[in-house]
Symmetry: none
Subunit: 473 residues, 2 copies
C-alpha cells in the first residue's frame, strides 16, 4: 500500500489532507485501538468541507486498513496499526521504531559513532580556549553573579551586528538579535512563538529531524518540500504557498543537514521574493556556514531580504564551542517582540558567562585562523570517507561543506536489520527515515564524518560496509 502524502501531485486534494490529519492523530494515539472516530458529519463541519470529501478520506483509510466499519455505526481504529507493536526487544531500536527521534539514537554508546553531527573535540583549540576563559574572568570579575537580560548581552549583540554587517551585508541593530542557548532552543522558540495548532509549516524533505519533532509537537500541519543537490522546485514551492498558505518554511539551505546540499544563490533570491509575496516566514537555520571545503557558500537568505520575511538562526555551537551552547536569532522587531516573550517564559536568559566567553573567543584572531584549519581537517575526512565508500554501489552527492554524507543504499538492504546489526558491531548511523517528514525514505542513511578521527572513520566505514554485505547475501 502506498501512503498518500501531500508531497504528491494530487496534494491539493482535500480528502487526502483529511486522510493525513486522521492518520497522524491515530498514530499519535489520540484515538485508541477499537475507539470510535468522529463522524463524517462532525468532521465536515470542523473542516468546513463537503461530507463526501470526509467520506472519501474514510474510504481510503478503510481500504488501507487503518480503520474498520462496525454495524454501519461509524469508523473505528484498526488494532495493531501502530507504531507501538513493531517494538519488541532492544529498547533503543524499539524506541527508534516507535518514535523515530534522533535523541534516542544518540543515546547509544558506540565505538564508531557516525550518528552524531558533532565536531571531534580534538579539533578544537582547547588549550588556547582555557587560557582565554581565564582572561574573561579577569575582565568581568562579577560575571557569575549576574543574570543576562532575556534578549542577551548587549556587548555581544553589538559585536555580532558588526560581524554580520561586514561579512554578510546584514543591515540590523543589536535590538534585532537575540542570544539563545543553541539552535535547538532557537527552533523551539520560533515554533512556540509563531505556530498555533494546524498552522501549515513547510519542511525540507529530508530535513533536520528534531525540527520535525518540534513543529509536530506544536501541532503544525507539515508539508514537505523536496530538496536535491540543485535546491528546490520553486514553481512547486510557489504552488504550495498559494495552496497551503504556510505560516513558515523552516530550511537549512547551506550544507544542509542531512544531505549536505546547498541551495544556489539565484534560488535564494527568488525564494525570498515568494515568501514576501505569500506572507510565509522563512526560518533559515545556518549552523555550518564556515565549514566550506572549496568556495565560500552563497550569502544567507537574510542578506536578500528586504521585507522582514526571514528569521535567521545561526548556531555557533557546532564548530566554535559545543560546551557553550550559543546561537543567535536575527529578525525584525515585530517578530523579536514575540520571541523575547517566549524566551522569558522558557528561561531567564542565556547564561551571561557563556555569552562573554563566546564574545571574546569567537572574535579573537586565533579562532578565526583556526576555522581555516578546521575546514582542511573536515575536507580530508570527507575525502577519506568517500574513498572508503567508493567500493560500494551506494549513491551520494559529494558535500561541499558541513559534517554529513547522505547515502542511498540498494533497496535490497533491510534497513531495520542494518541498524540493529550495526549497533551490535558498535556502529551507529542515522536512518534516513528519521529525517523524512513523511517517514518513507527507507533506503537512505546519514553518516557523519566530523566526530571520529581518520583511523576510526576508515575502520568504521569498512565495518559498516561489511555488515551491509552480510545482510544482502
Amino acid at each position: 500500500m502506498k501512503r498518500r502524502g501531500l508531497s504528491s501531485t494530487q496534494s491539493d486534494k482535500l480528502f487526502e489532507q483529511i486522510y493525513d490529519y486522521l492518520l497522524e492523530r491515530i498514530r499519535r494515539g489520540e484515538w485508541k485501538e477499537h475507539e470510535k472516530l468522529p463522524s463524517v458529519r462532525a468532521l465536515a463541519l470542523e473542516f468546513n468541507v463537503h461530507r463526501l470529501t470526509v467520506f472519501k478520506a474514510y474510504q481510503l483509510l478503510k481500504q488501507n486498513q487503518k480503520v474498520y466499519v462496525k454495524d454501519k455505526s461509524g469508523y473505528y481504529v484498526q488494532p495493531g496499526l501502530g507504531l507501538s507493536l513493531e517494538t519488541r526487544n532492544d529498547p533503543i531500536i524499539s524506541a527508534y521504531v516507535q518514535e523515530s527521534h534522533l535523541s534516542e539514537i544518540h543515546q547509544v554508546q558506540a565505538t564508531y559513532q557516525f550518528s552524531k553531527a558533532l565536531l571531534d573535540p580534538n579539533l578544537l583549540p582547547n588549550l588556547y580556549f582555557s587560557e582565554y576563559v581565564k582572561k574573561v574572568f579577569d575582565l568581568y570579575p562579577k560575571v557569575l553573579g549576574t543574570y543576562s537580560t532575556t534578549q542577551g548581552d548587549q556587548e555581544l549583540r553589538e559585536a555580532l551586528c558588526q560581524y554580520f554587517h561586514k561579512h554578510f551585508h546584514f543591515y540590523l541593530t543589536a535590538d534585532e538579535l537575540l542570544v539563545s542557548a543553541g539552535s535547538q532552543e532557537a527552533i523551539d522558540l520560533v515554533a512556540r512563538a509563531l505556530i498555533n495548532p494546524r498552522d501549515v509549516v513547510f519542511l525540507e524533505r529530508p530535513t533536520y529531524s528534531p525540527a520535525i519533532d518540534v513543529f509536530r509537537r506544536q501541532g503544525a500541519q507539515i508539508v514537505p518540500i523536496e530538496i536535491d543537490e540543485h535546491g528546490y522546485d520553486l514553481d512547486q514551492v510557489e504552488q504550495f504557498m498559494q495552496l497551503h498558505k504556510p505560516r513558515l518554511f523552516y530550511l537549512n539551505p547551506t550544507y544542509q543537514n542531512p544531505t549536505g546540499y546547498t541551495v544556489p544563490a539565484e534560488q535564494r533570491k527568488r525564494l525570498v521574493e515568494l515568501a514576501a509575496q505569500y506572507h510565509c516566514l522563512l526560518v533559515e537555520d545556518d549552523p555550518y556556514r564556515d565549514m566550506y571545503f572549496g568556495e565560500k557558500p552563497p550569502l544567507p537568505l537574510f542578506s536578500y531580504d528586504t521585507s522582514g520575511a526571514v528569521i535567521y538562526i545561526r548556531s555557533f555551537s557546532k564548530y566554535i564551542a559545543p560546551g557553550l551552547s550559543i546561537a543567535i536569532i536575527a529578525c525584525r522587531p515585530s517578530i523579536m517582540k514575540v520571541l523575547i516573550k517566549a524566551k522569558s517564559l522558557s528561561d531567564s536568559g542565556t547564561p551571561l558567562l557563556n555569552q562573554k566567553i563566546f564574545l571574546h573567543y569567537f572574535f579573537s584572531e586565533r579562532m578565526q585562523q583556526h576555522l581555516e584549519k578546521l575546514r582542511i581537517a573536515l575536507s580530508i575526512r570527507r575525502d577519506l570517507m568517500e574513498e572508503e565508500f567508493s567500493v560500494t554501489d551506494w549513491e551520494w552527492v559529494s558535500p561541499q561543506g558541513g559534517f554529513t554524507l547522505w547515502m542511498k543504499l540498494p533497496q535490497t538492504v533491510p534497513m531495520d536489520a542494518l541498524l540493529s546489526k550495526s549497533m551490535e558491531h558498535s556502529i551507529t548511523f542515522v536512518p534516513g527515515l528519521i529525517c523524512d517528514p513523511l517517514r518513507e525514505s527507507k533506503s537512505w542513511i546519514r553518516v557523519c564524518f566530523s566526530y571520529l578521527n581518520e583511523q576510526q572513520l576508515r575502520e568504521g566505514a569498512r565495518k559498516l560496509i561489511s555488515v551491509c554485505n552480510m545482510l544482502q547475501q
Copy 2:
C-alpha cells in the same frame, strides 16, 4: 569612534580591558547620566593595577565622549549614551498595565531596584570564584568542546544525589535527577511535559508570577490555593482535590516568593498524603532553602514522599551563581522519562561548562562557609528594611528566610499611581497583582531586600514611603 575590542592585537593591554569594563557598565545603566564614576584610585585598587593604567582608560573614554570631567573633581557619565534612552515615554509601564508580566517590570532601569529577587553581586565571592573556574579548566581541558547529555552531567548528578541524601534524606539515584538551565526552564519543562490544555493546575495565591504565565500559556485551568503565614487550609485543599481533580499543584513552600511564608512540617506530611490519594503531582520549587535567618527550614516535601507524587525543583542560581543558571529536578523514573523528552526538544542539554563549574564550586568548603556569611548579610538587610518601614501603617509578616518582604498597603493608596510615581523616582517594586492568579490583590507589594546595599536600601525605602505619602495626601 572605533570601538576598542579585545580581539585586536593589543588585547592584552590592561587599560583597554578597564575601558571595556567601564563602558559596559555605563551601557547597562549601572551609573546614570551625569553620575560620578569611581575614582582612579578606587579602580586601581579594585583591579590591582597602576593608577596610570586606569587614568589611560578614563582618557580614552573621555576622548570617545563616553565620560566628561567636571571641575577636576572626577569623571562623570556623558548623557545620551545608554540604553536608558529607549525608555522615554514609558513603553514599559504601558506594557505592565497591559499584560502584567514580571519580566517587563524587570526591564526598567532603576537606582532603587526593589523588584528583582536577585542577590547583590557584591555578596558573592567573585574573586574566589574566578580562581576556581580556572582550576576547572585545568581539570577538564576539553569541556568547551563537549556537549552535555540531555539529562545532565553524570558526575554532577551523582554528587547531588549524595548531597540530597545526606542533608534531606532523599533516596534516589543519579537517574532520578535532571540538570536544567535554571528554575524557569525547570517549571517550563514540567508544564510542557505534563500539562495538556484544560488540565487543572493548583497555584498558591499569591505565587511566583512567571509560573502563572507558564501554566496559562500551556492552557491550564488555574485554581488558586490561599497561602498565609501558617500554610494552607488543608481541608479546603482536600475538597478542591476531590472537586477539581488537579494534574498538579505548583508550590513554593519554603520562604515563599513573594510572601516569605513557610509551610510547617506537619502540613507538608499531610499534603504529600493527600497528593498520593488524589493523584495530584506536587511540584515543589525550593530556591531559597539555604537562606534561612534563624532555624533551618522544615525538610522538603520530597523527603516525605514515598509514592512518587513530588517533583522537586531546586535552583542553585539565586545565591550560588546567577551567571551559571543551574537548577536540578528530582523525580521518579516515569516522570523523568517525559521530562527528558521535553528537554531534548527545547535544547541540547544544559551547557557542560556551567555544570562542571557548579559542581566544583558548590561543593567546595569555601562556598559552604560563604553561605553562612550570606545568611547574616541578608538577615541584616531584612532587619534594616523592617526598621525603615516600621514608621508606616503597612502590614507584613517578618520573613524567616528568602529575599522578599510582602507588604499590605492601606487601601487608599492608588497602586497604579504608586508604581508610576515610584519609577519616576527611580524606584521599582513588584505590584502584588502580578503574583495573584486571580489578578485581584491590589493592595500588596513585593519589595526585595537582597539586591541593594544597606545604604541604598535605606534611601530607597524612605523615598518609597515618601512617594506613597504624597499620593495619600
